[in-house]
């Protein structure tokens, strides 16, 4: 009977643990899948960010929930029309990505988010903020490339930035296309470490290249 009890205890413990990780996988998967459709209604991005943050806070040791929470927040800033709100949301994204960074230092994907946050700050007032945040954004992209040369996202972000920079400032399709093409090549061979790991941006890269035909 004692043996049985022990067995039951172990079994229930492991199933609980298994259930926990299954729960994590399931929650993450459904939320990650929801990101793409959320762009139609930006408010949903904030809802998703909150869900990722909840998972991150509950799990405590996983960096991905914080990563996705920051990704949702920073994507939201790109949709926000009221520029006076952007700095606040971008600061929230920084708070989240710093948590991810603490769990997973020197990660290329995390550097990509940091670059996106700097770009968000810059867009509030590009003329006066370019010097500071434009440089910061560039530095994080360089870090991201260095941290993982196979990651296609740094080049996607760089190419996207170039495409929307006027030709006179060294941007435009001419300079953007080779960078985007190189990113797309990397997407071709890129394998995320798990089905929860970042694996986004390919469609937009294709779209941007399409616009540069």
């Amino acid at each position: 009977m004692k043996k049985l009890f022990l067995m039951v205890a172990i079994a229930s413990f492991t199933t609980a643990a298994f259930a926990q990780s299954e729960k994590y996988m399931a929650a993450m998967k459904s939320n990650i899948n929801a990101i793409d459709t959320s762009f139609k209604n930006p408010q949903n991005l904030l809802t998703l960010a909150n869900q990722f943050e909840r998972i991150g806070n509950a799990e405590k040791t996983q960096w991905l929930p914080f990563y996705y929470a920051a990704l949702c927040q920073v994507n939201y800033t790109y949709m926000e029309q009221d520029k006076s709100k952007i700095d606040g949301i971008a600061d929230k994204a920084t708070e989240l990505i710093d948590k991810a960074d603490a769990l997973q230092p020197k990660n290329s994907e995390i550097s990509c988010i940091k670059s996106m946050i700097a770009s968000a700050h810059m867009m509030v007032d590009p003329m006066t903020r370019f010097m500071e945040y434009g440089m910061e954004s560039q530095t994080f992209i360089d870090d991201a490339m260095q941290q993982d040369p196979t990651n296609p996202r740094p080049e996607y972000l760089k190419g996207q930035g170039l495409k929307y920079t006027p030709e006179q400032f060294g941007g435009g399709c001419g300079t953007a296309k080779p960078v985007l093409q190189s990113s797309l090549d990397k997407y071709g061979v890129f394998k995320p470490a798990s089905e929860l790991h970042p694996n986004w941006g390919r469609e937009r890269t294709e779209m941007l290249i399409g616009e540069c035909k």
């Binding site: 039951v8 199933t15 869900q51 509950a58």
Partner: protein
Amino acid sequence: MKRVFALLVMLPALTVQAQVKVAGNITDGRGKSVAGVSITLKNTYDGSTSDSLGNFSFSTSEKGKHILETSIIGFRPLEQELEIGTSDIRLNIAMKELITELKAVVISAGSFVASDKSKGAVLSALDIVTTPSANGDVTSAFKSLPGTQQVGESEGLFVRGGSATESKIYMDGNLVNNFFYSSTPGIATRGRFNPFLFKGTVFSSGGYSALYGQALSSALILETIDLPERTQADLGVSVIGIGGGIQKLSKDKKSSWGISYNYANLWLGFAINKQKQDFYQIPVYHQGDANLRFRTKSGGMIKYYGYISTNKVGFRDADIDSVVLKNAFALENLNTYQNINWRENLGSAWKMTTGVSYSTNKDDITNELQDANNQKQTITNPSFYAFKNFKLKNKAQYAQARFVLEKKLGGLNAIRFGSDYFYSEEKSTYTLYDGSQFSESVTDNMNSVFAETDVFITNNLAAKIGGRLEHSQLLAKWNIAPRVSVAYKFRDNSQASFAYGLFYQNPERKYLPSVAGLDFSRAAHYILQYQKMNNGRILRVEAFYKKYTDLYKTASSVTGREVATNNNGFGHAQGLELFFRDKKTFKDVDYWISYSYLDTKRDFLNYPQAITPSFAANHTAALVVKKFITSWKTQFNLSYNFATGRPYYHFAYDNAQGKYVIGDAGKTINYNSMSFSVNYLPGIGKKNPKAFVVWVLGINNVLGQDQVFSYNYNNAGTRKEAVTPPSKRFIFIGCFMSFGIDRTQDAINNNL
């Protein structure tokens, strides 16, 4: 056994079925619903986000005691205990708004902020150099803002009926004496410092903080940059001279040093722009500076800035009292300035700022009467003519130490207090036509203590309350100056501010030494402001009333020098000002308009009665337009300044009455000036350019409009002559290069 197992397997399924619904509504405590709030059952995945009506709802299978967290940007996060049983839970949660910089009202009465970061900034740091009427001069850009006068015959800021000496300039908290190059008669001089030295500027046209004193009208508070963004070298060539410098940022980006040298010689500038005066000594300037900056371990900064310059100028103009003679004026100047500033976070929300500055100034002035052949005319009988031959040597040194402690008290509430000590020693030797010399020396020790608190009652209501106590050893007097400002934000995010303060100032050096028993001169400011800022537009309306008491009256001393004699002067100034800036309406066009109405009268110095001073126009307006044309890589800047005529007077000494009377008076023509500048940046967009180049073309008074600043009278008051700018137009062409933005940076780094 099997049943136990089945039970175990079924357990999770059972809990799923026994879910409890948690729903509720979130308000801000004043009944307004809050959207976007994250509601979380702590340490679980369960939670929700409130909708636009503040409603939320989620289901959970958790049981027992839990903590419910609610959080959103700008509100204090809440945690509350929740006992989850079997029945649904309904909650009404009131959150408390945090007072944050992003949301809070800005106390802005009387002040204009030029900064790239600060919320409520009206200008950016770059605006100061791209405002064409300013010619790259730090203070001149502020002449396109309301409250300032278009005074062209002398330097400095004339603010709201105040003279230029009533405006003081502070660098990192320390008062800067001789901010401008030494005065020359009828020609305004420029500020000494490079505008790129500063990252933020606050121009206060009244009601400024208790941290500053000794300015009756206005304070210009300059903050130098911390660390440069990168290592670079600069080189500039223009019609007025050449200059170069280097800035080196350490690899760990924690410290930097820099040096620069500028040589200005106006020979070429004057060849292009014919001057009214006959310059027998073309203005020549040598100027060098150095800086050293460290970031400390706890995120503080230690900054050193040192400056040295020497310049000389000499010019002759027709003497107003005679037909054939000329008046020749020559000046040589040597100026040094050193400033060390240390800002440190002391922990527990305490912050310290301390600074020490030391500066010296030396002027050698010679004034001569000359004949048609430029030979000195010596006159021996002591008539007014004789006094035109003189020499004046001024030597001054100033030292200041300042200490400010600040404690953050949660939210944006703060208290700061400190003291400052200011030592000045000014010596002059005046040599008369007959060789007799008069030497004078004035020293003063000023001690001040001050305290100020920022009180944010809500995001919508804030106050700054402060006071300053000063003692001048020279006057042997104390003064106490209260300062209060209050700001309130309306529902549409516009805001109203009110400021009140008392301001004291010592007599100007040139009216000293003087009789004993003088007191501080005094001004009281009352300012009411309305401001609306949204998405690229700023509207600001300000009304003010300023009352002057105890202004200095002067009289002639035995040596013919004007000295302060009593505090019987008085005056007032009142007006209405408007500022509108718009970056939005026209694509890629940024413009601003300022308008000031001023009504002022005062009796001070040698004025016979209360009159509108010669530096005050009733109506002043400015328009600044900037447009960047991307495809041309060129920025076009235009400014138009307008002011109605200013009064001018001749004070004649009436022997019968034994005092000055107004002998003649009038009003100048209206002032109009359009300036234009073009900045061409060919390097934009080049891949790895070796140098980043900016070409600048600037033309002042493009239309060549007639400008009369004032009139000079001859001694008898029978003839007057217009004071006009030295040249009708001034054309400036320059090329400024910086190296080391991209790849060359590595080259520079390796060679340093």
